[in-house]
Amino acid sequence: MYRQYRLEGSTRSEEIESGLQSQIADALWLLARQWQVGEFHGEDAASPIQARYATQIAPVDQFRPYAGKQFRSIDPFLPLEAYAEQQPLNDAASFWRAAEAGQHLLRLLAPLDNGKWRKVLRDEYALTMPSNIEPQDVAVVALMVRRSCDGERIYLERARLEAEFVKQDEDFEAMFSAWVAWFEDRLFDDSALESWDPERMEYRFSAGATTSKGTIVLDAKEYPGGHLDWFSFDKRDNAVDLPKDGKGELKTVIPTPVQFSGMAVQRWFEFEDGTVNFGDVSAGAVDFARMITAAFATAFGDDWYVMPVRVPIGSLAQIGTLTVLDSFGDTHPIRSIAANDGTKRVWRFFELNGDDDDPLLFVPSVALGRLEGKAVERVTLLRDETENLGWGIEKAYEGVLERSVERGRQWTTARSQVSSQGVSDDESWQYRLLNPIPPYWIPFVPVRMTGSAQIRLRRGRMSEWELLPPEMIGIRGTTLLPDPAAPLNVYEEEVPASGIDVSSSYQFARHASGQAVVWLGRRKQAAQPQITLARETDRLKRQGE
C-alpha cells in the first residue's frame, strides 16, 4: 500500500510558551506579523523633524494690595509669597527687633570704639521698657534696655545720624552702611504692600506683568497663605494681552515624541513597561479625571511631540508662533488648541481664570523649599449660634525673643492668683449664673452695615472684663487688632461654624541669587481640633472642685 504524509505548517498552538518566546528564526513569520499590525500600511504623511517657535515673555514685576491704587515695581525673582504674606510685627516683637539690632550695631562698633559711640548711641537712642512683658522675660528685657540701644529708631533716623556722627570717621562709615544693609536684609517687611485683609482673614493682592501695551493684571483674591502658585491667580477680564505680533525669542529645536510610563508601544516586538498599567485603572462612574487620563494614555497617547521651553521664573509666557517642518520638507504652522477651540472651550489646562483668548502660562517665583518657624501667633475664629456671636480666641501672641506666649496659661496662672484671695471655706457651695469669659476670647457681635442688608461681625469687648486687672485684658497680637484706632468688621461668611485657625510664623526662602529672605506670614486653615464653647450657665459647685 502506498501512503503519503502531508506536511502541515501550523502557526497556532494551545500552548502559550512558544508564542511568548516570540522566536524570530522565521523571517516570513516576522513579516506576516508586521503586516498584521499594519506596519506596512502606507500613509500620506511625514514625520516632524524640526520645529521653530517664538516665545513672548512678560516679567511679573509689579505688585499691589488688592484694594491698592498704584502698582509698585518688585523683584520678579524674589518669592511672591514674601511680598504677599509679609506683615508688621506687634509691640513686643518690634521691641525685640529694635533691641537686637541695636546690640548688633554695638557689636560691629566694638573694634573701633573706646566707648564713645556706645555712650552716644545709648543716650540718644535709649530703649524704653515695653508694657505687658511676661514675668520670665522681664530680666532679659531690662538688661537689653540698659545695655542696648534702639536699632529701629537709629535705622529710621540714619540720615541725621550719618550727618552728625558717622561722617566723622571713615571706618565708622563703612561699618554703619554694613549695619544698615544687615538691618534691611534681616526681616522683609513693607507696610505699603501689606495684603492681608483683616475683614476677610485672607490675603488679597494683585500682581502685574509689564508689557509694551500696558500691565496685565493678575488677581489673587483668596490666598489663605502657605503655598502660592499659578492657580491662586485670576486674570482680570479687561486686562491687556501680550502683543500678538509673532515677535519674540525664536528657537529652532528637534521635537521628541512624547513618552510616558505605561504608554502603549507601537511595535510588535517591543515590551511594554509593566509598572504602569492604564488598562487596569479602576475608575468610578463619575471619576472623569481618571477616565480621561486612562483613555488618553491608552488610545490617544501617540503622535504627540514635545519640546523644552525655558521660562524665567516670575513671568508670563506665551507661544507666539509654532512652525513644524516634516521629513518631506513641508512646513506646517500650528495654532494653539485654545485658539482653535475659541473662548467657549471646555478643555483648559494650566490656564488662569479669565484668560479666554490665547492663554498665558504663569510661572510665578515661589518659595521653594521654604523653612517655617514655630507659630508665634495663633488665633481661632468661630461662631456661637446659641448666643448669636462670633468669638476670636487669641490663643498665643508673639512676645520678646520671638517667643510665642500662650494666653491660656497666662490666664490660668493669673486667675488662680486672683481667686485664691478671699476663699474662706472649702466646703461652701457656690452658684454661678455664667462662668467668666477669659479675656483672650474676644466677642464679635453681628451688626448690620449702614446702607446695606449685609451683616458683619464687629469686634467687641465683655463688660465683665472691667473687673479684671488691666494687664490681663486686651489684644496683644495683630490678627484681631490690625489697627487699634479702627473697628474690625469681619465678613460673616468667612467665619464658619466649625471655625478657622489663623496662625503667624516666620518664613524663610532663598532668592534666586542665593540671598536669604525672612518674613512673618500668616496662614488660614480649618480649625483643628475643634473647640467647644466655654460658656456655662447655672453651675453649682463646691470650692476646690
Partner: protein, 303 residues
C-alpha cells in the same frame, strides 16, 4: 510681758579649720548633709563622721565603674564611653552632667583659615546671619539667648564665628548668603562658634552640634514644555532582510526586483495561514506530500 530669746551657747568659730574646709568642698559635690555646722567643733566632727561613709561609697562605686570599663575598653564604642563617663560623674558629683568626647577635627586646616568671600571682610557676617536664621530654626534659640545675654552683660562681643565650606572653591561667596558660582553645585557649610580664636582649629576638639538643615536655592529659569499633535505615519520598515539572488539564466532588472519583493510579501501573508483557518480547503492545502515506502520504514527523502 516680754519674751526673751533662748540663750545661745557661746559661738566657736570653726571656719578655716581643715575639717570645715573639707566638708565645704564636699558640699559642692552635692553630698547630702555636708554643708558644715558653724558653731560647734564637736558637731562638726560628728557631721564629718556621718557624711564619710556616703563619700566612701561614692568613691568606691565610681572606681568600680571605671575598672569595669577599662577591662573592656578596647572595643568600647563612643556611646559606651560617654555612658561610662556619665555614670562616673553622676556617682562622684551626685547628679547627671552632660559629657562630651573629644573628636578629630574633620576639616583641613586651610578650610577654616581661608574664609569665603563676604565673611572674610565682615567678621560679624555669621553673627548677623544667625540672628536671621533663629526665627525659623528653634534649635538655635538657646544659642542666640546665650550670645545676646552674655554680650549684653559683659558689654562686648564675646563670640567668634568661623565659616567653613566644602568643597572649597577659591574666591567663592558663602552659600549662607549667596549662590555657588556653579549652578547646580552642592555645598556643605559649617558655622562654628566659640570663645577664642577658631581660625587655627585643628586636631582634637570638643563641641556640640546644635542644628543642621538643608536649603535649596531656586534657579532663575523653569523648564516648561511645548507640545503639539502631529499625525506622523506609523508604517515601519520590515524587520527581515531579503536576500535575493537572480535566477541562473537571468540578470537583474527592475521588474525582477519588484517581483521578488512582492513574492516575499505574498509568501509572508501565506505564512500566517494555518490549516485551521482554511476550513474545507484544508483537505487539499497545503499540498506538500511526502511519499512513504511500502515497508513502512519511514518517510522517503524525496518530496
Amino acid at each position: 510681758m516680754s519674751v526673751s530669746p533662748p540663750k545661745m551657747p557661746a559661738a566657736v568659730d570653726v571656719r578655716g579649720s581643715q575639717l570645715f574646709e573639707a566638708l565645704m568642698r564636699l558640699s559642692y559635690f552635692n553630698v547630702p548633709q555636708a554643708i558644715p555646722e558653724l558653731d560647734d567643733p564637736a558637731a562638726l566632727t560628728a557631721q564629718a563622721e556621718a557624711v564619710l561613709p556616703a563619700v566612701k561609697t561614692r568613691r568606691d562605686d565610681a572606681q568600680g565603674i571605671l575598672r569595669r570599663a577599662r577591662e573592656n575598653d578596647a572595643n568600647a564604642s563612643p556611646e559606651q564611653r560617654i555612658r561610662t563617663a556619665r555614670a562616673v560623674f553622676a556617682m562622684i558629683l551626685g547628679r547627671e552632667y552632660p559629657v562630651m568626647l573629644r573628636f578629630q577635627m574633620p576639616l583641613q586646616s586651610e578650610t577654616l583659615s581661608d574664609q569665603p568671600v563676604g565673611v572674610s571682610s565682615d567678621p560679624h557676617a555669621a553673627a548677623g546671619w544667625l540672628l536671621k536664621m533663629v526665627r525659623v530654626r528653634p534649635e538655635l534659640v538657646p544659642l542666640r539667648g546665650l550670645i545676646t545675654t552674655a554680650e549684653a552683660l559683659r558689654d562686648q562681643p564675646l563670640f567668634a564665628f568661623r565659616v567653613a565650606q566644602v568643597p572649597t572653591v577659591a574666591g567663592e561667596a558663602w552659600t549662607g548668603v549667596a549662590r555657588p558660582n556653579d549652578e547646580g553645585a552642592d555645598r556643605l557649610s559649617l558655622v562654628l562658634t566659640g570663645n577664642g580664636d577658631l581660625s587655627a582649629l585643628g586636631g582634637e576638639i570638643c563641641g556640640l552640634v546644635l542644628d543642621q538643615w538643608a536649603e535649596r536655592i531656586p534657579s532663575n529659569y523653569e523648564m516648561t514644555g511645548l507640545t503639539f499633535h502631529f499625525d506622523a505615519p506609523t508604517s515601519r520598515p520590515p524587520q527581515s532582510l531579503l536576500l535575493a539572488v537572480p535566477p541562473e539564466d537571468a540578470t537583474w532588472d527592475f521588474g525582477l526586483v519588484v517581483d521578488t519583493v512582492r513574492e516575499a510579501f505574498a509568501l509572508a501573508r501565506i505564512r500566517a495561514v494555518a490549516p485551521e483557518t482554511l476550513g474545507e480547503y484544508g483537505q487539499h492545502i497545503p499540498a506538500v506530500f511526502l511519499s512513504q515506502d511500502l515497508d513502512m520504514t519511514g518517510a522517503a527523502d524525496d518530496v
